[in-house]
């Protein structure tokens, strides 16, 4: 198998490498890729949308349909993780109950009629080995960093029209702050800030903001996602309406990405139980 794979890869790779001879030189301004469609974007993006960041314009206007499905892919991944892993079977079977050792977060299952083990018993000694002492360095650092990171992510979102940035990046940074909270404290703390239900609903709402903007354009009589028609609603001319709509759409993307990142982390880190975490 290994040899076969090697031969296959070498053969196909050789074929592709030989063929690379016919590709244009690196950075050639006259290559078809830089002369056919892209000059149109570069020349007209600002005029059409009054937004200097061409990547944002192409992302959220010219090819907004792609971007919407990109958000949908993220949403589908969130659903996939939830669907495959989440289990709530514990604690519902009756008869037994659970004792949670708060400092370590270890949960002990106590069978029907059973008693809690004694203070110095073997069970607790094995739990004590897992106990993590309060770690001031990590917790304090994260507590100081998280607000700044969150503000930064909002900046990345709001300034996406003028500088590198936009919905996906902002969403990832925002999601990272909540994951950071979960890592530095524990899953319970972050679940208290953002429950699973919130994450799920936010991710759906985020994608819905995007898709709904498109649907609104359709209902107002234009093509799907043609923001032009929103001009009277946004109290602006057509170009500015596009600019504003790009922001609206990016807000939706931010919400979706942030919520899905957090949701996937919740499910992956606790193997779907969402009682422990890292």
């Amino acid at each position: 198998m290994k040899k076969l794979a090697l031969i296959l890869c070498l053969f196909a790779g050789g074929l592709l490498l030989m063929n690379a001879h016919y590709l244009p030189m690196w950075g050639d301004p006259a290559s078809p890729a830089s002369t056919h469609v892209s000059p149109y974007f570069i020349e007209n993006a600002y005029e059409h949308t009054k937004t200097p960041n061409m990547v944002a314009v192409v992302l959220a206007d010219y090819r907004s349909y792609d971007t919407m499905f990109e958000a949908a892919v993220v949403l589908a991944a969130g659903f996939a993780c939830f669907f495959l892993l989440r289990s709530r079977a514990r604690g519902k079977k009756g008869g037994h109950h659970y004792y949670r050792h708060i400092p370590t977060g270890v949960t002990i299952k106590i069978e029907e009629g059973g008693k809690l083990p004694a203070e110095n018993s073997k069970v607790f000694r094995s739990i004590d080995a897992l106990w993590t002492p309060y770690d001031p360095i990590i917790q304090t650092t994260c507590r100081c960093l998280i607000p700044f990171l969150q503000i930064y992510s909002l900046y990345v979102l709001a300034h996406g029209h003028y500088s590198p940035g936009g919905g996906f990046q902002a969403g990832v940074v925002l999601g990272a702050t909540i994951i950071l909270l979960a890592i530095s404290h524990n899953l319970k703390t972050s679940l208290k800030r953002m429950s699973e239900r919130t994450a799920a609903l936010w991710s759906i709402i985020g994608v819905f903001i995007f898709a709904g903007t498109g649907l609104l354009c359709l209902l107002l009589g234009m093509d799907y996602l043609n923001y032009e028609v929103l001009a009277p609603l946004l109290l602006s001319d057509e170009a500015m309406a596009r600019s504003h709509s790009i922001l609206i759409v990016e807000v939706g993307v931010t919400m979706a990405v942030m919520a899905v990142m957090v949701w996937i982390y919740y499910n992956l880190s606790s193997a779907g139980q969402q009682d422990e975490g890292l």
Binding site: M1, K2, A5, L6, L8, C9, L10, A12, G13, L16, L17, A20, H21, L23, M25, W26, G27, D28, P29, S31, A33, S34, V37, S38, P39, F41, I42, E43, A45, Y46, P52, N53, M54, V55, V57, V58, L59, R63, D66, T67, E70, V73, V74, A76, A77, G78, A80, C81, L84, L85, Y162, S163, P164, F168, V257, I264, N267, L268, A271
Partner: protein, 127 residues
């Protein structure tokens, strides 16, 4: 002899194709599932690099319009924005795939207690 400019002029393609098949080889030949998933990521990243390198133009800057150019815009001045957009999508798809792959690997691990493919196959056959 312009062999040297030729090789320098296309090194991006060589590199990406090398990474492409490196990732594919890892996916086919490794037996550990996590290593396969790492291979998958290398595989997808190589395509992202390939696309991005196609957007590059010599003497051009990043595709954010500068204040002084707002009147007449010369397309040669700016990089091609389209591959960046496409690859943003591809990156997101790669991340989503990675998430689902890890989820499935976690499920496999919970069922068989191992991530080695041959051990899993052995467990399936002996069952």
């Amino acid at each position: 002899m312009d062999a040297i400019p030729y090789f320098i002029g296309k090194y991006n393609y060589w590199g990406c194709i090398f990474l492409f098949f490196l990732g594919m080889y890892a996916m086919i030949s490794k037996t550990n599932l996590i290593k396969k998933i790492i291979g998958l990521n290398i595989f997808q990243t190589s395509i992202i690099l390939f696309f991005i390198s196609a957007s590059f133009k010599h003497d051009a800057t990043l595709p954010i319009l500068m204040e002084e150019h707002k009147g007449a815009i010369d397309p040669v001045m700016y990089l091609n924005p389209l591959p960046h957009v496409l690859m943003l999508t591809a990156i997101v798809v790669a991340v989503a795939t990675l998430g689902v792959a890890l989820t499935l690997a976690l499920k496999v691990y919970r069922i068989y207690g191992t991530l080695e493919e041959d051990e899993i196959n052995h467990a399936i056959q002996s069952h």
